[in-house]
Every structure is written in structure tokens, then in C-alpha cells.
């Protein structure tokens, strides 16, 4: 057998459109998933028992069920249940926003809980409310510690978005399938998109390592 990349190069525009859509879904799910995750984390840390339990259930449910099952549910079941139109794009964004928010919630929670209890006391003693303490004192410190975990989770999200190809959203994976079928060159096509994903993800994880080192160097931890 012989490698022949000409068909791949001829269809590069199709693959690049797929890459763009992959980044679009990832970016959108990220920008919705992070605030949603913060909300879930705050609910889970709430002193109100029922609120905390509801949030815990949502988080655990979306962490323990496979993302592909969630995607199928939001694409095939959800529209019938609520009688709305669901496009592959919308289903992908909804699924991955909620799915990643469950993971982000746990990152937020462990970040907030990692902050020394004295920080709550210090802000409480100068008359701050719980919300003020959280916003001004706890979160700014916690977010810095959470950045490595955030980046790791974002990488996982990027990888998970390949699933949208199964409901016919034109991401990189889906475009690769159609190019492979039309050119009869699956070996070259799938090897090339594997390489594209690798460059993207490897680059991003190298970046996160650099950021992590920077943070470790500048890190002043808690005062003690």
C-alpha cells in the first residue's frame, strides 16, 4: 500500500471548516459551562440542605453518565419531551455545557475548599457578608489555584466534542468521515485529523504546563 495525501489536501477546506466548528462548539460550551459550574458549586456549598442536595445530584448524574448517552438524550429525547426543534449544533452546545459544568463545579468546589479557613474568618471579622467574602477574598485566590485543572478539563471538553459527529454536526471528526468516504482514503484522512487534534491538544497542554509553572513561581499560597 502507498500513502497518498493528495485527496486530503484537495479537501483541506472541508476539514478546516470542521476544525472551526469543533472550536466553536468547544468555546461556546466552555463559556456557558464555567459560569454554570460556578453556580452549581455555590449551590453545593450552600448551607441550605435541599439546594445542596439538588446540586449534588445534578453534578453526580452528569459525571457518571457517558457524554454520548447525554448527547443522544438531548438530541433524540429532549425535543420530543419539550416539543421543540433541536439542531445537532444546539444539542451539542446544551449537552457539553451542562456536562462540563458538572466537572467545573467540582473544580470550583475543591478550589474554594482549598482556601484556608482563616481567610473566611479574616474577612468576616472586618464585617464582610458571606457573599462579599466569597467575591472579594476567596474566589480571587481560589481561581488562581484552579487554573491548571480548568485547562485540563477544557482539553477534555475539546476531545469530547468529537462525539457530535454521531448526530451529524459538521465538526472535524464528521468532516473527516465524509472526506474518507468520498475519497476512499480513510488511512490518510484519519491520520491527518489525528495529527490535527494532536497538534491542537498537545500545544494547548504544553501551554497549560507553562502557565502552571508561572503560577507556581508567583504563588504566595496562604499567609502563614
Amino acid at each position: 500500500m502507498e500513502w497518498n495525501f493528495a485527496p486530503v489536501i484537495a479537501n483541506l477546506d472541508i476539514l478546516l471548516l470542521g476544525l472551526l466548528n469543533t472550536l466553536k462548539v468547544t468555546g461556546l460550551a466552555l463559556s456557558l459551562g464555567v459560569p454554570l459550574g460556578l453556580g452549581l458549586a455555590l449551590m453545593r456549598l450552600s448551607q441550605n440542605r435541599p439546594i445542596s442536595m439538588i446540586s449534588e445530584f445534578i453534578i453526580e448524574f452528569f459525571r457518571t453518565t457517558p457524554p454520548l448517552v447525554q448527547l443522544f438524550w438531548f438530541f433524540f429525547a429532549f425535543p420530543i419531551l419539550f416539543n421543540i426543534n433541536m439542531t445537532p449544533y444546539l444539542a451539542a452546545v446544551v449537552t457539553f455545557s451542562i456536562q462540563s459544568s458538572a466537572f467545573f463545579a467540582e473544580i470550583f468546589r475543591s478550589g474554594i475548599q482549598s482556601i484556608d479557613h482563616g481567610q473566611w474568618e479574616g474577612s468576616k471579622a472586618i464585617g464582610m457578608t458571606r457573599n462579599q467574602s466569597l467575591r472579594r477574598v476567596i474566589l480571587p485566590q481560589a481561581v488562581k489555584r484552579m487554573i491548571p485543572a480548568f485547562m485540563e478539563r477544557s482539553i477534555e471538553l475539546l476531545k469530547t466534542t468529537t462525539l457530535v459527529s454521531t448526530i451529524a454536526y459538521t465538526d472535524l471528526m464528521y468532516q473527516a468521515n465524509s472526506v474518507a468516504q468520498s475519497t476512499f482514503r480513510p488511512l490518510e484522512v484519519y491520520s491527518v485529523i489525528a495529527a490535527i487534534y494532536f497538534i491542537l491538544i498537545f500545544g494547548f497542554s504544553q501551554l497549560s504546563i507553562v502557565v502552571e509553572h508561572r503560577l507556581a513561581k508567583s504563588g504566595e499560597g496562604t499567609v502563614n
Binding site: T64, T65, P67, V69, N177, Y190, S205
Partner: protein
């Protein structure tokens, strides 16, 4: 929301789900075993930094950690046979993709575990005349493995969820079977909800167990 939930067809078709669940468990059993054992080997290779082993081990880990599992499965299903002339069944393609991916992830877990052990332990082993492998097997690994147990369990949970990806190459695991039922009976709501519930019911106790394990391990040693 005026949908009338009707799980009757799910119960009458329980055998279809049962076939799927068995296939899921088989897939999980094979991939988790290969992945965790192979990962241990690669993790040790990564740790010892032997010039002949270090580079290939690193390359393996980076490639399989930094590409999506689905791409790996599809590659093994469609591209690998062309490259090697070896036909891959849906089962084999999924096993290869998921196992190799798991090997790469668990290798890094093992490596971090071994690295977390105090250098003094190696020196103590050496001082009483133990060889490298003896020290590794008798002193370092028992403690390191205990430390990484929660991380490995979490990885195992991910592997279990990953088994659904085999449905994409038409392996008849739980999600494929649910899809079949959904299409035959026009009841996607119940059939997919049932899969979600099955996974939740299986994994929720495992997740809770992991939390308990972490608490126990945090209390003992360190």
C-alpha cells in the same frame, strides 16, 4: 411537557438491554485490564528514564493522551486495516482505542505515584543490598499503588463510560442496543433515559466508594 412516560417497552425488551450490558461489561473488563497493566509498565519506563525506553514511552503517552479516543477507535477501525492488512472487528477496534488510551493516562498516574515516594525509601532499599527491581517491587510500588488508587478508580470510571463509544463502530454494547430499541419502538425518550439510569445506577456507588476510599487513605499514612 405532556409526554406520557411509558417504560413498558423497555421492560418487555429487557433482554436486548441485557445483551448490551453484558457487552459493555466485557468491553470494560478487557480494556480496563489491558489499560491498567500496560500503563504500569509504561509508567515505570517513564520513571526510570532509560535512554532507549524514555523517548518511545513519552511519545506513546503524548500521542494517546493528546488525541480524542473516538479518533483512535475510528482510526483502528478504518485506517489500521489498510496500513497492516489486519482486519479489525468493531470489538477489536474499540478495545485497541480504549486500552491504549487508558494505558497512556494510567501510565502518568503510576509515574506520579512512584515519584511521590520519598527518595529516602530508595536509599534505604539500596542500603540493605536490594537491587533496583527488588526495591521497586517490595518497597516503592506497594506504597505508590495505594496512593494512586483513587486516581486509578476515577480513570476506571472514565473507561466504563468510554465503552459507549464502541457503539459508533456498531459494537452491540448498551447504548447501541438502546438505539436499536428506540428505532424499532419509536421511544427514544424512554430508551435513552433507561441507558442513562443504568450507567448512573452502576457508577454512582463506585463514585461514592471512591470518595470514601480517598477519606480513608487521607486519614491513614502521610
Amino acid at each position: 411537557m405532556d409526554h406520557n412516560w411509558d417504560f413498558a417497552t423497555i421492560f418487555t425488551n429487557w433482554r436486548v438491554y441485557w445483551v448490551g450490558l453484558q457487552a459493555t461489561l466485557l468491553m470494560f473488563g478487557v480494556t480496563v485490564t489491558l489499560g491498567m497493566l500496560g500503563g504500569l509498565l509504561i509508567g515505570i519506563l517513564r520513571y526510570i528514564k532509560h535512554p532507549a525506553a524514555a523517548w518511545p514511552a513519552r511519545a506513546f503517552v503524548e500521542v494517546f493522551r493528546n488525541t480524542p479516543v473516538l479518533v483512535q477507535i475510528i482510526w483502528f477501525y478504518y485506517a489500521f486495516p489498510i496500513l497492516t492488512g489486519v482486519e479489525t472487528s468493531p470489538f477489536l477496534a474499540a478495545v485497541l482505542g480504549i486500552s491504549l488510551n487508558t494505558m497512556a493516562f494510567s501510565a502518568e498516574i503510576y509515574r506520579a505515584g512512584i515519584q511521590s515516594i520519598d527518595k529516602g525509601q530508595w536509599e534505604a532499599g539500596k542500603a540493605i543490598g536490594m537491587s533496583f527491581t527488588q526495591t521497586l517491587r517490595r518497597i516503592i510500588l506497594p506504597v505508590a499503588l495505594k496512593r494512586v488508587l483513587p486516581a486509578l478508580t476515577n480513570r476506571g470510571i472514565e473507561v466504563f463510560k468510554m465503552s459507549t463509544l464502541a457503539s459508533i463502530v456498531a459494537y452491540n454494547e448498551t447504548l447501541s442496543q438502546a438505539k436499536l430499541i428506540a428505532e424499532l419502538n419509536y421511544n427514544p425518550i424512554e430508551s435513552y433515559t433507561a441507558v442513562a439510569i443504568i450507567f448512573f445506577v452502576v457508577l454512582y456507588p463506585v463514585v461514592q466508594g471512591t470518595y470514601a476510599l480517598e477519606r480513608v487513605l487521607n486519614r491513614s499514612d502521610r
